[in-house]
Symmetry: D2
Subunit: 308 residues, 4 copies
């Protein structure tokens, strides 16, 4: 994950000051890279992933799922199409927004509030209660909302604390969130390569495209359920070809090196198109890991040798 | 579906000139109402449904699913929460956009293009190819994009043909769509009441909230699959409480008065929270209808009488 | 269940003194008949059922299942083929044998022991321990073994206490049984007619012939399992046509008038040949009855009326 | 499979002249042994298997399944209990009986016919049609019926051609069988040892004891069905402990060295008691072999290396 002069280049959904950049900080602090990182701003999650596919960066950090809004569609769609990429690590941030203004602007002076749509959806109630007269203007990112304030395009912005500080903006309100406990998960993505080692607390993610025959979805779910695999996310996204055809984005507990996960992957591959997005360490306990296969495999070996 | 003076009041996602209003036209032409309709503009799909819940209108027309973008999240979420509402009819429109400008504006003069986000997602490539220098500015609806052009807020707008005509705008391009064959389904929603009669080509829609135990989703899918019920849509939406808890929006072929559909509804109700969104005539063939139960029911009756 | 002069004629697997006759006694004592019964001896369970099919009797009592030996194959096969018959009641007897001799015969004088094969299988160990020198000679029934003793054909017989008494034989040993707690279930069979009323503790029995396609058996089991129907017996019997084709004899908890049992019967009938053998009161608690459908059915009705 | 002086000792269900001995001939002709065999007569299938468990013989030949009567219960029960044994080969014989008498005995002189119960069940109609006055007397085996004729115990016997020839008996009728095409499968059993090599046309046999929880049988069937394993036999036998508890005897197409069979065995072992009876070459095509796992396994390996 290094560039030619030994510095890994990592794209992230920017500009400077987004939650995504905060997630990149976190990855650095957690030791995800073995050298200082050169940060490359991308205008959107798909743009970050495209830089990675093109070889212009060695990794990309993008938001993938919000506890409030669900999967981040641009990220999901960009992972579904184009060359396969691989998730190697995750981190989660508590999401609360900072509403910023230019110094000296009072709440009653706020006629327009810039907000990234995902953010707008999470602070709508707060704005209605606190800035009832303000019109919401779409910003290109959470940090972009701060930039729009700094440039005078809007009176206030729903931003990150970091973006406000960097631009020297005033804080109208901090910790703003309509839904308590909102969190967003960010992932570090690379081109396909060796899979991070199994830790015992892992997440595996795949995108399935099922054959258009009755019972395909039941079959897929059954391949997981019979092996005791704990599905933690299932989201469907239309394939954009016709009604009723979907990509299914699945996350489950376990690692490709868990024998039952390997079995399940092969079983799905037998009848469906499976895009493997990776197995990596989960940031927290998130369900029931697959049971060990050791006893059963040893029993089978003993049978094969006639010892049992 | 009438108001006090005999005129049904129907809310729609406006302003005037949206695709949704065109869908309302279609419902009128198809005879969905037995009296002239009074149209009530709502600023968003949830707002239209809220007017209905409040009793301010008798029905609402909202977009529910795009063949390109999948379910329309604000509609889905507004149907999931609050008092139960009921879908009684559907129609589908081919979706292609009209890019409008003020008369006299040349393509090379377009620095900003207003677009509703759903529209922006469907014309992104066209804009990159044809108006590469233009910045996309978020509009509140497709008709709103035309209004933003008329008011001078933006130079061009991704709008409907109808909206452009009403405002006397010039047409820069017609039939604009990155994805050929894009369609959107619109539904007519009422408060709960008698269910439209079974036609033999019907759609049933429910929202499921499954108990948080392993195998719930397999169980739900199995209740449908064993009864030969053809699932035409499954979309998950986070419940906004925690990662991994979802509402599942399901559409299938058939009507609550099909015995196997009735069985399936009861079976789902046995272990899950089921919000029934209605059974109504599908606009086109869309899968395999449930088989008849007649032979089996008659056989059972003969057994009960000892005749077989 | 009466003959022309008001006396029901009931066939049973005889001769006089069999366990089956004891079961017929039990049915009489329990009030299964509303008039004194005329008993008609049949040489085998199939013969008893054939008398019933021919109209020569109004009912038949036959053994159907042993806790030690499983289903009684001649009974099962005779219920599978020919005109459909219907089970209307059951009773169970503890099975322990009485070894009888002619008066004055000592154990050491016993060179031959008559035994019906089902009985022989249940006393083999006792004979090996107590009459090690004796040869087992096949008898036509448990009572027939006593007759063979009386006629001098064998020295001792594995019989019922009743048969020994009636023939004035001596008792060499009583309560003989290799397997403690052995019981046999007997059923009262009639031609098809009204089904006994649901009691809440009922048994339903069917014979399935599944289509010869992969997954048929899983499908059948799933139709029962998804409805929470508690299967208490499953036995396969070859159809006698080719390897691998079977009749499946299934018993489960519940009554055809339990809505979920009715659903399951119809579901099985949809793809398999189903011979319904009846629903009747079980003699003892034997599993989990099907849940009520009331709540779900009422919910469905409210939906249909738009009340919920 | 050899004794101390280089001659394998093989027990069979005798006496001399049984179909089982004919099956042993067949195994010899097919080269199942690499040295001449010393034949050891056993009085019953369980007795033959007990000699094997005790180490008194190196192998045993027993009948296991009849196309008319289904599994041979004494064989099945003897394989279920006691130390595990292993089936290593099979052969099938067309079953038609030879009715023998002492020379000079005319059909009208036949008052008693000796028959092994399995045989009696397959010639009942022939006897009723051809020897209507004759009483059936139970013999200990098909060859034993011929011995009973020779010793004068009965007038005629339902035997094998071989047994009649060896005893110099006359043939009253040949090729006697109520059911056309009746066949019986015989197996060669050894103590556990290396498993015969996979041929691509194999049979695997197991005995399952399922936990007494609802859905166990569906789960077991599903583990096979999801892996496309073709079940060719399922027979239940009571465990002799209580009603409703069974051993399930399953045969399916494939070999323990087929990856999907290995998976299925491990999956069953995860929740049930599994007695593996062996994998061996089937004598004829008998269903759909498991699909290869190669593509899926290679895909998985490429994922693991980051090559795909």
């Amino acid at each position: 994950m290094r560039n030619l002069v030994g510095v890994p280049r990592i794209a992230y959904f920017g500009p400077s000051g987004t939650f995504t950049e905060m997630a990149l900080d976190r990855f650095e602090n957690l030791g995800a890279f073995d050298a200082p990182v050169e940060r490359v701003v991308a205008a959107s999650p798909p743009a970050a992933l495209e830089l990675l596919r093109n070889g212009e960066v060695d990794g990309a950090v993008v938001p993938i799922e919000s506890s409030v809004e669900g999967s981040v569609p641009p990220t999901m769609d960009a992972l579904s199409l184009g060359a396969r990429l691989q998730i190697v690590a995750e981190t989660e941030l508590d999401i609360a927004f900072t509403v910023v203004t230019r110094p000296g602007v009072a709440p009653e002076d706020v006629a327009t509030v810039g907000a990234y749509p995902v953010a707008a959806a999470q602070v709508r109630k707060w704005i209605a209660d606190n800035l009832p007269a303000a019109e919401i203007v779409t910003a290109s990112s959470n940090a972009g909302a701060a930039e729009d304030v700094a440039s005078g395009k809007v009176d206030a912005g729903v931003a990150t604390a970091l973006a406000g500080q960097r631009l020297g903006l005033a804080v109208l309100a901090d910790g703003v969130a309509d839904f308590a406990g909102a969190r967003t998960r960010f992932v570090l993505v690379t081109r396909p390569g060796p899979i991070p080692e199994r830790t015992g607390c892992d997440r595996t993610s795949v995108i399935l495209q099922l054959p258009n025959v009755p019972g395909s979805l039941v079959r897929a779910m059954t391949e997981l359920a019979t092996r005791g695999i704990d599905l933690t996310r299932i989201e469907s996204r239309p394939t954009r070809k016709d009604y009723g055809t979907y990509f299914f984005h699945l996350d489950w507990v376990g690692h490709i090196d868990d024998p039952l996960v390997a079995e399940a992957l092969k079983a799905l591959h037998r009848f469906a198109q499976v895009r493997f997005l990776g197995s990596w360490a989960a940031v927290s306990e998130h369900g029931v890991p697959p049971v060990s296969d050791d006893d059963d495999a040893q029993w089978l070996e003993r049978l094969r040798c006639g010892e049992e």
